[in-house]
Symmetry: C2
Subunit: 343 residues, 2 copies
């Protein structure tokens, strides 16, 4: 039988001690980490970047198909993604959790294994947090802290007319991964004898359960001396994020459907489900790729990159926000991205 | 009829815009606030202090007797208390919320009124956050950021043998306020005709529903040139916190029962409930006073302060952690503070 230690048996402080026993500190700027009223971070002529996200069981994840280790990893990564989207380097995180007694210490430990794996991969220090009981459901709140050379952070509001609109990686896979997992859950609930059929779908499932933050894109842009004029991460779908940049920069944009990067495995999965792959990219969400604008004069520097696609360009605000379909039709972009309050 | 705007009608981003429409920025160090992937904070030779706390409906608060405005205020204050407990000055906060559709926009707005009131009072900037739906219950996660002159923050682990053990203000009232509110709730649930009897109990109720962080004590200590050797805030009761400082400083302590500051209104309420007031101070929790240790040589500087009480002193670890009762008996201190996992 699997080991199960009741959380009660440790108490809150014992639990924190247990979960943080293997913390490694990576940054000289981490002066004081877990174990006091607050953590302390040093700065040497840098600016601090802070971002925070909350993940709620039943809204953002489902334990039926989300391994705890993946959940820990993803909770960190989605926050780091926001820090990279500022053009900054994440350095520290805090994690607060609320959970009911139905979770064992071993389960929590698995969650933290994922957290530590992400901390190691992205070179960030876990410096604090809070644990609490909940009456029902698992709640995760992560705050990520990063640093940036003064005034070199990249906002959403500073795109320029005529700039190229670019995205990293490929889009739509995470949504299809979720669709597949939800379908298999439904089948399983109706008939627990049927084993899930996830054959050949590891790409889209991986994109849903274990997303990565695009540190490599930030590094690439720096190496190529490209300063995006605006940037954000794609958590709610390309459409919603492009509209954010347009609205905050007081501009319009045109996106070309045939330029939107979609992996073949995503296309095949979309076909199976009878969903338009472009719709998945535009409104699917959770891709955690980067969307950014840059001067046309930087175009030559990215032509050899397979990880960056130019999907359109920025226009005057009077031209609105549109997509030109493969058939040549022009449609208004709809921000029907994943909206937590309209489910 | 009271106005009620459904959260759905605004959508997530409309809601954030609405709730943050009146944000005022107090600090030059707040370079970028709400509205991007992350906030940006500047530093000029300071160190950053970060603390985070999560509050869960049904565990930390009950809407039956917690006005939303007070809840917003308290959510901020309990985090600022941790920053002050580091000897630092809070400068910014982020707030993440999860809530179900049963809450209206007006209700959320009331919550934020309390948040902004605390931000104004304590001179901090709200710089970001996240809102999400929840299946059930209201969840609040606040991260507070502060600054401190390099290496002048005050830890829990640096108390010295022979130091005086001090507390600010008075203890035990918040717990009795909670006890009273819980009693009235029970009576109301059993017979909704009976109006709550809170006559003459505004002090203990105020201490429970609208605690303050002891900024004034930090200012006083600086003015008097007193550097506490260790400090933390009292959220789980004097006993639990004194044991924390002892454990982390590798020391023991002696506390004198007759030196523990308890307000007369607290004593009277305890008497009514048939609870020992000392037990409320030792294990009640939520007082958000400061506990600190300081050198005996600083004693003369605090004798005139009515807001600081010397309750005991630090001993060698071999002497353990004890309380000397009014009757002269010696008992081991019990860390039976408010333990979220043993309710």
């Amino acid at each position: 039988m699997e080991e199960r230690t009741e959380i009660d048996s440790l108490g809150e402080f014992g639990l924190i001690d247990y979960l943080t026993r293997n913390i490694e500190i990576h940054h000289a700027s981490t002066i004081l980490g877990v174990g006091d009223d607050a953590a302390v971070i040093d700065h040497f002529g840098k600016q601090t970047v802070i971002s925070t996200d909350m993940l709620i069981e039943g809204i953002h994840f489902d334990f039926m198909y989300t391994p705890l280790k993946h959940l820990g990893y993803k909770s960190v990564v989605v926050n780091l993604s926001d820090i990279y989207a500022m053009g900054a380097t994440p350095t520290q995180i805090t994690i607060s959790l609320a959970f009911s007694n139905r979770l064992s210490v071993e389960a929590l430990n698995e969650f933290y294994e994922g957290v530590y794996a992400a901390c190691d991969k992205y070179n960030v220090d876990l410096i604090g947090g809070d644990t609490s009981s909940s009456q029902k459901g698992f709640v995760i709140s992560v705050t990520a802290i990063g640093e940036v050379t003064p005034m070199e952070f990249i906002k959403r509001s500073t795109a320029q007319k005529g700039d190229l609109l670019c995205v990293s990686g490929d889009l739509g896979a995470a949504f299809l991964g979720l669709t597949l997992l939800e379908r298999e859950k439904k089948i399983f609930l109706e008939n627990p004898q049927i084993q899930p059929d996830l054959e050949g779908e590891t790409y889209i499932i991986g994109r849903q359960l274990k997303p990565e933050a695009r540190q490599d894109i930030i590094t690439f842009l720096k190496e190529k001396n490209i300063t995006p004029t605006a940037m954000m991460d794609i958590s709610d779908g390309l459409s919603s994020e492009a509209i954010h940049i347009c609205k905050q920069s007081n501009l319009g944009c045109v996106i070309y459907e045939d330029k939107i990067p979609i992996d073949d495995r995503t296309k095949q999965a979309a076909l199976k489900f009878g969903i338009d792959p472009t719709a998945c990219a535009l409104s699917g969400g959770e891709d955690y790729e980067l969307i950014f604008t840059m001067s046309q004069s930087d175009y030559d520097k990215i032509t050899l990159s397979e990880e960056i696609s130019v999907v359109g360009y920025m226009t005057d605000i009077s031209e609105g926000t549109h997509i030109i379909t493969k058939g040549g039709n022009k449609h208004k972009l709809q921000a029907q991205g994943w909206n937590a309050f309209k489910q």
